[in-house]
């Protein structure tokens, strides 16, 4: 694939994630997404750049803000819409909701306990290593997660045992309303990785190609069995922590505008234009992506809610069959 085709593919994925998120935002405002929706708008380059290089057998662990990672890893937009809406047909058949689901065919997991993914990803990586597979376990988490015990315990374990775990810290500048400069005492979160003997790097998380290049280097090291990699992706969330949060209490319009100037979609689009694609081609692409996603949303809105019986099935494997 040429660089141009590749960027075009990345851009298409960025569009998918952006429009998916914007539709979800509207659904949340209408209370059709009930609770727990955390917009990903602004951070798409991270999910797209990282996941574009993953294989199906690589595992991904994500957070309370998982929709971008899940779709970029291969989950269908229909299934993720359904999960957001709590409908049958969702990735977890509608019982998980907007921040916790499992898409086993795509080896995707997420959960809403901040920081908790790092140890589990280390365990998945341990299994891969013991089984002599060259799959990797990728774990996404935020700047806020880097203050949890599980973050430090998990990274230490992966480091001492040289496990194939890729730790991606999405520093979107806030944990809820807590600005990272006030709540993390080092200027780059990647510095925290160096204390575990890792090469902590910080990357422009608004630039999908930069994200992809850093990921490519990381995967080379990981698949060669050289131990875990930590990458801080410097990014920003354009919308509130959750759909409709009181943003003015912690950040200014000016600040948001500065970051919106570095919108990952605009950056990619500008590059495509410079590489010879026409405005019209890109507009058409965006319109068709949006139309498809809208169709998926309409489909999801038709799906039934799970019954109580369905929702409480599988609490555990029945005794005797376990």
């Amino acid at each position: 694939m040429s660089d141009n085709e590749q960027l075009m593919e990345l851009y298409t994925q960025l569009l998918v994630l952006r429009h998916f998120d914007e539709f979800c935002y509207d659904l949340k405002m209408k209370d059709l997404i009930m609770n727990g929706f955390h917009p990903y708008s602004g951070q798409e380059a991270v999910a797209v750049g990282v996941c574009s290089l993953l294989r199906e057998d690589d595992a991904v662990f994500s957070t309370h803000r998982p929709q971008g990672h899940s779709i970029a890893k291969g989950s269908s937009t229909r299934a993720v819409f359904c999960e957001m809406l709590g409908r049958r047909g969702g990735v977890s058949q509608g019982i998980g909701g907007p921040m916790q689901w499992i898409d086993k065919p795509h080896n995707f997991f997420c959960g809403s306990i901040v920081g908790s993914g790092l140890p589990i990803a280390a365990g998945v990586a341990l299994a891969f290593k013991r089984q002599a597979r060259d799959s990797v376990a990728v774990c996404f988490f935020g700047d806020g997660a880097s203050n949890t015990g599980a973050f430090h315990e998990g990274m230490n374990l992966a480091a001492i045992w040289k496990l194939p775990a890729l730790y991606i810290c999405e520093n979107n500048q806030y944990g809820e309303a807590m600005p990272v400069q006030e709540f993390v005492p080092v200027s780059r979160i990647s510095q925290r990785a160096t204390s575990y003997g890792l090469n902590g790097v910080s990357v422009d998380g608004m630039d999908v190609e930069a994200v992809m290049n850093a990921t490519a280097d990381a995967l080379e090291q990981l698949r060669a069995g050289q131990g875990p990699v930590f990458i801080e992706m410097v990014t920003y969330r354009f919308r509130g922590h959750y759909g409709g949060d009181p943003e003015h209490t912690y950040r200014s319009r000016e600040e948001i505008a500065v970051w919106r100037n570095r919108d990952p979609l605009t950056l990619a689009r500008t590059r495509l234009l410079a590489r010879g694609y026409s405005e019209e081609t890109l507009d058409d692409l965006e319109a068709s992506v949006r139309a498809e996603i809208e169709e998926d949303m309409e489909w999801a809105l038709e799906q039934p809610f799970p019954t109580v019986e369905q929702a409480t099935d599988h609490v555990m494997i029945p005794l005797g069959q376990d």
């Binding site: 499992i102 140890p119 280390a122 998945v124 299994a127 376990a137 099935d313 599988h314 555990m316």
Partner: protein, 324 residues
Amino acid sequence: MARMSYRDAIRETTAEELRRDDSVYLIGEDVGRWGNLFGASAGLLEEFGPERICDSPISEAAMTGCAIGSALYGMRPIAEIMYIDFITIAMDQMINHGVKYHQLSNGQVRVPVVFRTQGGVGMRNSSQHSQSLENWFVNVPGLIVAMPSTPADLCGLLRSAVRSDNPVLLIEHKSLYFTRGEVPEGDYTIPFGVADIKRAGEDVTIIATSWMVLQALAAARTLADEGISCEVIDPRTLWPLDKQALIDSVKRTKHCVVVTEAPAEGGWSGEAASVVHEHCFAELRKPVRRVCGMRTGIPYGTELEKAVVPDASWIGDAARELLA
């Protein structure tokens, strides 16, 4: 049959499971070089090597999460939490993740982890190393909670736990490690949710767990001399609970004492008592009596730590009162 200690039953069963299935591994603090605080994995590092007998860093969350993550991808870990008191650090990983994944995936993923730990008094370790915390876990849907009281039960339940695709918490007792008993040879397993009558009797049913089973048996011997015949039942798993065994026994004896080392309030002892009240109301001559640990942090010292948890005399007194 082989006669061995509870501690050795852990080691033998673990070793056999490690030999039987390559995906089984043990992870925990000082399970390798030290072979566990009590010697329950002594010698296993030499036989199986460091990839299967993993000395974990002092990171209960990491070790637990690691066990869970690896279980998602084909491994069958036994994760050892040195003292149940340290399980607070591991609980997010266990409860919010390990126990939730099967349901969240609509049955697509399985989490075959055994969490092994030990609780209770007996080492004069005071309030952060002597607790009985099993009650917290009985209230978690999806988690099996086993508390073996004999070497044979330990062997059968541990083997079933390793082979189960459900997450299992197996709680040992530090005062049981050097007790001895017969352990059946061969591939001995015990299904979850099957109680065992440790002593048959006519006049009163004593339901007891873990080390309290031994106290109940001691009480039963004393009471026998007084002409009171006790039936001692060990549920062996707190959940699933073998309700029928409790009910059948109490319908016959018409009297019931429930004994736990943990404090009564909000605990499994109340669950057991409720089951009996709900199903044996007509037969019961008196309400169920609970004999439980005092509602206190465990104090330091040989005498004091024993003074705040039930012993044979507390149990004997309760039975005598019921039958008076």
